[in-house]
Amino acid sequence: MMKYDVVVIGGGPAGLAAAIEAKKGAPEQRVLILERDQALGGILQQCIHNGFGLHYFKEELTGPEYAERFIEQLDGSGIEVFTDTMVLELSKDRRVLAVSREHGLIEIEAGAVVLAMGCRERTRGALNIPGARPAGVFTAGCAQRLVNMEGYLPGRRVVVLGSGDIGLIMARRMTWSGATVALVAELMPYSSGLNRNIVQCLTDNNIPLKFNHTVTQIHGRERLSGVTVAEVDPMTRKPIPGSEQMIECDTLLLSVGLIPENELTQGAGISISPITSGALVDERRETDIEGIFACGNVLHVHDLVDNVSEEATIAGRAAADYVKQGALSGPIAQVRTGRGVRYAVPQRVHAGGEGKLDLYFRVDNAYRGMRVQLRSGDQLLLDRKKQIMTPGEMEKITIDASKVTGDLELMLAEG
């Protein structure tokens, strides 16, 4: 049995920032990162495009450069790292069972645990697209790895289903690599990706984007030969008969959503939000099991890594504090969501805290000229007009923590 004060599961952007902050907060504590890949950095390793760090570092970096800013801080920090190590089980009492080629089967007793396992992509199976099952259907992230890390092209003529950020980025990458992207089809009337990605990836490269469209059939026996694309009724989202169009292609990339990887979390008995598919947490990102914290895409899917780093800093510091001081006590206020707000994180906060309190949220539709309001009882804690809000962009509001005296309600209002 090994013993560590803080064990961070996952060495991507969230895990790195959490571990570094935990060590900063308590240099005497033993901090360990467990990473299943052979290298640190998580999905950033394959994100060779730029646009990272504009908020956090106030400069524009590529994914690997952004990760490197954190990885280099590990040198001489005393933080220990096991790469190529897969966590198999996590228990309520913070025992971690992991395995690696180098260390064999290991059991670790942790003072605190930070969950930072990231997320996975939704697949074709989950969409249940009818048709054949040929080669050539990839999730966008899988194709990204093949192109950027292995140096091979998954195909020459491409249709992208879904306009999530990875799909948009990959439409551009495939074009730049010599492939033709015939179409990006989006089921919804709006994109789930960042607006800047639609402009820089699609518009600037003359890649057509069709809203209210989906793939209804996959063709080809051994390798993909084409897909049928149809327009959908914006109300029912069902294909409109007669609108079907066959597009010849050898590659279909899916960018249809990300799902937090919470199998370990669930195994430990931690409560999961049905909306975010991540743990329910308080303002320090502590789950409902004491001493276990969560941050990054395992908690809720972020669109900017900058926000992941910020959130991980909170969780890392809180984990170190927990080892030193134990659980936080005091009354808890729930953060409820009202009209127009799909979810907010954290879902609960301790009343009577100090300093600033950030609330992250996503809206449930595309909105123009609405007000964001945060109420506590009859009291309006925040009321701010926002010109454009879309589900693809995470919103943030900041309030004075000391103002939280009872349950909060976050909603949108007219005008």
């Binding site: 299943r36 190529d84 897969m86 198999l88 395995v99 690696s100 080629r101 180098e102 260390h103 064999g104 089967l105 996975r120 992509e121 697949t123 074709r124 199976g125 989950a126 249940n128 009818p130 048709g131 054949a132 099952r133 040929p134 080669a135 050539g136 990839f138 999730t139 992230g141 899988c142 790895r145 093949l146 192109v147 890390m149 292995e150 140096g151 091979y152 092209l153 998954p154 195909g155 020459r156 690599s177 010599g178 209804t216 026996r221 051994e222 390798r223 799902i259 199998e263």
Partner: protein, 486 residues
């Protein structure tokens, strides 16, 4: 540490006693059975792997045998096959769970069908069959619809893994000297006086006898040898596979059967997943395994009749298989009356998987009657060890496995917890593609459907087979995955 790489081999230049055409469960089971004799055997298939037709996409049920018409060969071989299954799975290291099956009825009409099935089952010699009330049925299977009034319970029914069984039979056959000849579609057979000359994907294979186990193509193979006494019609069956979270159903649940088949069933799998299916639609194309909108709608509509609280958001994937429906209405297992050197093992629709061990035994008996020496040899290997699975080991077994082979310590498929050691072993036993590895190890079968492990498995395939990534396919043929960057 590394076992030598086995798999496809160039066919022997001499003469085989037996050429088995078709490496599905029927051909592989026959190959296994005959491999215990002194016969020199080739197992030939058009595809890049064994188990590539109906054997990789079917209901995986070990049927009890009440459904087949009295006096049919199907009935006899189903009941016999069911009895043989435990020993075969034990020897071959293949999962089998005798979870029992229920055929459920909702009204008087159904109840009459159930009573008929019970009678038929009794006459077929199915043991321990019982007609039970809806209440008793829900005690056995609490997830059942509350409107079920009567059920036929068959405790001897079970579930297995059809492609694992096929692979295991083929591996056991190979251990006894059977040659696998894959990527070898049979295009013609010359019937010379002294031997049969089989032209198969660039190979020429000489044999004294041919066993026709070519599934949906069995009529075409038979015609190549002058026997056009039957035809095979393809019948598509669509399925949806669900994650463990879909519901708790632990029994195979059938609805009352119709003319087209045993109806849509809800069943656990040996891997702890759940599936619903199959539909049953006759078609012209023998290779059409496309899933249709209508099929998915039918599965959804019909399956909730059996188990109302099915969670369709837990669907991992959908797929279809094609059954070989014979024009004769029964299995065709006999010496051909036109060409005496041809032994038919054709028209093996449901319950073909259950019957496979008994079909193999019957083919051996037919050969014996033909005067072929099929006596078992002393040194026949019966056991086929399964690939040792990290996920099913306890802590001390895991430690020992890693100490012996450190690749057990590297998890490649994170959803299903599959180690690199298992993937390497699968390749050394004959996996040549992503799907070949998947069928042998489950890598890529989980929630992410290979999104994470796909590229890593491709790398391991390339490394072990000394290939580059563009050489690696999803499932052989033209199913390439990546190309060189230009």
């Amino acid at each position: 540490m590394h076992t030598p790489i086995a798999g496809e081999c160039a066919p022997n230049q001499g003469i085989y006693d037996i050429a088995i055409i078709g490496a599905g469960i029927t051909g592989a089971a026959i190959a296994r059975q005959l491999s215990h004799t002194r016969l020199k055997i080739a197992l030939i298939d058009a595809q890049e792997d064994v188990a590539m037709g109906a054997s990789r996409a079917n209901s995986a049920i070990v049927h009890a045998g009440y459904d087949c018409p009295n006096g049919s060969l199907e009935a006899e071989l189903n009941v016999r096959g069911n009895q043989m299954f435990t020993q075969w799975c034990d020897e071959l290291g293949v999962p089998l769970s005798r979870c029992g099956s229920l055929v459920i009825g909702f009204d008087e009409q159904d109840e009459q069908v159930l009573r008929d099935l019970f009678e038929r089952g009794q006459r077929n010699g199915v043991p321990d069959l019982a007609l039970i009330s809806g209440e008793q049925a829900r005690e056995i299977e609490p997830s059942l619809n509350l409107d079920v009034t009567l059920a036929l319970h068959a405790p001897t029914a079970g579930i297995t893994c059809p492609y694992q069984l096929t692979i295991a039979c083929a591996e056991n056959a190979r251990a006894n000297g059977v040659d696998w000849v894959l990527n070898a579609p049979v295009t013609g057979i010359d019937r010379r006086d002294d031997q049969l000359v089989i032209h198969a994907g660039g190979h020429t294979i000489n044999a004294r006898y041919v066993v026709n186990a070519a599934g949906v193509f069995a009529d075409e193979v038979s015609r190549m040898m002058g026997d056009d006494s039957f035809t095979i019609k393809p019948r598509k069956g669509e399925y949806m596979l669900m994650d463990r979270t879909a519901t708790d159903t632990w029994t195979v649940v059938f609805q009352t059967p119709s003319k087209l088949g045993k109806g849509i069933l809800v069943s656990p799998t040996v891997d702890g997943n759940l599936f619903v299916g199959p539909t049953a639609h006759d078609q012209m194309d023998k290779l059409d395994t496309e899933v249709t909108d209508e099929g998915i709608a039918e599965l959804t509509r019909m399956s909730v009749k059996s188990v109302p609280n099915l969670n369709f958001r837990a669907v991992i994937t959908s797929f279809a298989g094609v059954r070989a429906q014979p024009s004769t209405g029964d299995f065709i297992i006999c010496q051909s009356s036109i060409e005496p050197r041809l032994i038919q093992a054709a028209g093996i629709c449901s319950p073909g998987l259950t019957s496979a061990p008994a079909i193999a035994e019957l083919v051996q008996q037919i050969m014996q009657r033909m005067g072929i020496d099929v006596s078992e040899r002393q040194d026949a290997i019966k056991e086929r060890p399964a690939i040792r699975e990290f996920r099913h080991m306890n802590a001390s077994a895991r430690r020992a496995a890693i100490a012996e082979n450190p690749l057990y310590g590297r998890i490649i498929c994170r959803c299903e917890t599959i180690s690199e050691a298992e993937i390497v072993e699968a390749i050394h036993r004959g996996a040549r593609s992503l799907d070949g590895v998947k069928r042998r190890t489950r890598a890529g079968m989980g929630r992410c459907q290979g999104g994470f492990c796909g590229p890593r498995v491709m790398e391991i395939l390339a490394r072990e087979l000394d290939l580059t990534l563009p050489d690696i396919t999803k499932s052989g043929g033209d199913s390439w995955l990546v190309e060189e960057m230009q």
